[in-house]
């Protein structure tokens, strides 16, 4: 996959910096993020709340055009087009709903409550420049029904209101709408965090399904749970305080996490992994927790050092560079710097 040139990548993000402009000043939530997404690949972004996952996804899908979101610098290149440099109209007609679409964490927010799903779909089509009239209505409706059927959803759903559906059903309906538009890169923001485990499995299978059937080219999916992403992602990005700490193939990251933060994320699941009881397993390293997520954006040096058990002097003074340890594996930690 690495031999492909830039034009063939689905998404290239370079040195992206952005955040929110608020009354109280500017908060930079994404700080110098670079990564690529290849065709036919599911990329998982993992990190705690406040680590900048949502902001990163929102920046990619809007180019920082919608306040209070603000893009300082950086490039977002989708299929060879730098969306940061496009004007609003061009961006809307070429990118939004065609190349990229964003599914928010709570699908409650995604569907307009006063409209049936079919009416909502009409609105989306109008927004991206396809008008629905008497001649093509049946055809478009038929297309949507076919799409719902092939993904294993009941086609009668399109005449329902969003509040008539359960949480998992609503999440799948929204993802199906995006699939039927054949968006090349859907951005799914914590699609399963509000669902119970049985429904979660169903939704993950559904995402795998739209990927397998070729409705979408690549997928970016975010979560705070490594075990959930493990089920579906090919590659993982670990984010902390607006920076990418580690990128690697999923199998590699599970087998041998390099960054101390990744180790913490995986260690926190150890207790549940082997169905141990509380008497058998006592966590050895208790990592400290930061009182306020905003303070972690203002720390000098490596941002993880106040919680890191291996923190050295250099970690407190200087920010670690991104070190390439393997062909498709990078880590931002001083421990892996060769001297």
């Amino acid at each position: 996959m690495n031999t492909l040139d830039n034009d063939n990548k689905t998404l290239i993000v370079r040195n992206l910096k952005g955040g929110y402009k608020t009354e109280y000043g500017y908060v930079r939530a994404v700080d110098g993020v670079s990564f690529d997404v290849y065709p036919r690949e599911i990329v998982g972004i993992v990190g705690e709340s406040g680590s900048g996952k949502t902001t990163l996804l929102k920046l990619i899908c809007s180019g920082g055009r919608i306040p209070p979101l603000f893009l300082e610098e950086g490039d977002i290149i989708m299929d060879g087009i730098n969306i940061v440099k496009l004007g609003w109209n061009e961006f809307k007609s070429k990118i939004l709903g065609k190349k990229v679409a964003y599914v928010p964490q709570a699908a409650y927010d995604a569907i307009y409550p006063y409209k049936r799903i079919w009416q909502f779909y009409e609105d989306i089509l109008r927004e991206i420049g396809i008008s629905v009239n008497k001649e093509n209505e049946d055809q478009i409706k038929q297309h949507l029904i076919e799409c719902f059927k092939s993904l294993g959803l009941d086609p009668s759903l399109i005449n329902r209101y969003s509040f008539e559906l359960s949480g998992g059903m609503r999440q799948r309906a929204v993802i199906a709408l995006i699939a039927s538009l054949r968006v090349s890169l859907p951005l799914l923001d914590e699609p399963t965090s509000a669902l119970d485990v049985v429904t979660q499995k169903r939704v993950l299978e559904f995402i795998a399904n739209i990927f397998r059937e070729g409705y979408v080219k690549s997928v970016i999916i975010s979560s705070h749970d490594v075990a959930t992403l493990r089920q579906i992602a090919h590659r993982m990005l670990v984010m902390y305080a607006g920076k990418i700490m580690e990128t690697a193939k999923v199998e590699d990251i599970i087998a041998e996490p390099l960054h101390p933060y990744t180790q913490l994320l995986i260690k926190s699941l150890e207790a549940f992994e082997g169905f141990k009881s509380r008497k058998e397993y006592k966590p050895k390293v208790i990592y400290r927790e930061l009182a306020n997520i905003y303070t972690m954006l203002t720390i000098t040096g490596c941002r993880f050092h106040p919680r890191c058990p291996y923190a050295m002097d250099i970690c407190r003074k200087e920010e670690p560079p991104t070190i390439k340890v393997d062909r498709d594996r990078t880590v931002a930690c001083w421990m892996y710097m060769k001297r």
Partner: protein, 265 residues
């Protein structure tokens, strides 16, 4: 040994509609016993009636049928204040469990007042009790006491709620999905605080969750609920090694695990 809590054939139905009424059963014929110092995990998907059951025990709703017995007496025979010294609850969303305009110190002060009655304890002594409790649970009182709830993280707030229960020393704590809104990395610290409460104060805990893997870690006994009924009930090891119901088996299979992938993508 006499059990702490006993539920005998408890049912609860809700009535919806005005002209044409529908009866919606939420909890159907549930019987449970819980001994002192035990942790029971109540597992089930959303809509299975877990929270309704918790609310019945907390006396927030009355059961339509059956009785709940705590320490040998029906729960409705206790005066309200005495009852909440014996039974406490913590909930899913820590941000809505606090009074947003009160600093943490004043919230915890209310707990001390409830425990030791207002005139019998002076302020300095109360603050001392609060500080030592927080330190015991691995929280830094200097960092926390003068802050407001919105300034703290979800994991910390959830542990402060456990500290509140630690001060009150109830016989029974109902923990309704205390970790579902918390990041995976801080989940263990909340669970640890619960275990401390259980070990040091002897509080029995009913731990409600939808995640069977967490239930196995936390509990001595497990009850699986499905559509208002208890479909599986037994000791932890029994349920893990040979689940009897089909539903419990399917729950076991839907736990995401690091070592295994469900399907190839």
């Amino acid at each position: 040994m006499e059990p702490l809590l006993e539920m005998r054939n408890v049912s609860k139905h809700y009535i919806s509609g005005y002209i044409k009424t529908n009866i919606i059963p939420a909890v159907i014929d549930v019987s449970l016993t819980l001994n002192r110092r035990e942790i029971l995990a109540l597992v089930g998907e959303s809509g299975s009636g877990k929270t309704t059951l918790a609310k019945i025990i907390l006396r927030l709703i009355k059961p339509s049928k059956g009785e709940v017995i705590l320490g040998g007496k029906d729960i409705y025979s206790y005066p309200e204040k005495d009852y909440y010294l014996k039974v406490q609850g913590i909930f899913q969303d820590p941000y809505t469990s606090f009074n947003p305009i009160k600093p943490i110190l004043s919230t915890l002060m209310d707990a001390v007042m409830l425990r030791f009655k207002i005139n019998k304890i002076d302020r300095d002594k109360a603050v001392k009790i609060i500080e030592s409790t927080l330190i015991r649970l691995g929280l830094n009182p200097m960092e926390i006491l003068n802050k407001y709830p919105y300034e703290l993280s979800g994991g910390q707030l959830q542990r402060i709620l456990i500290a509140r229960a630690y001060i009150i020393e109830p016989d029974l704590l109902l923990a309704d999905e205390p970790t579902s809104m918390i990041d995976a990395s801080t989940r263990l610290s909340v669970l640890n605080a619960l275990f401390q409460l259980n070990e040091e104060k002897g509080t029995s805990i009913i731990f409600i969750t939808h995640d069977l893997s967490q239930a196995f870690y936390v509990a001595d006994k497990i009850a699986v609920m499905y559509k208002g009924r208890i479909v599986e009930y037994g000791e932890r090891d029994e349920v893990l090694s040979k689940p009897r119901s089909e539903y419990a088996k399917s729950l076991l299979l839907s736990i995401p695990r690091l070592s295994r992938r469900w399907f190839n993508v």
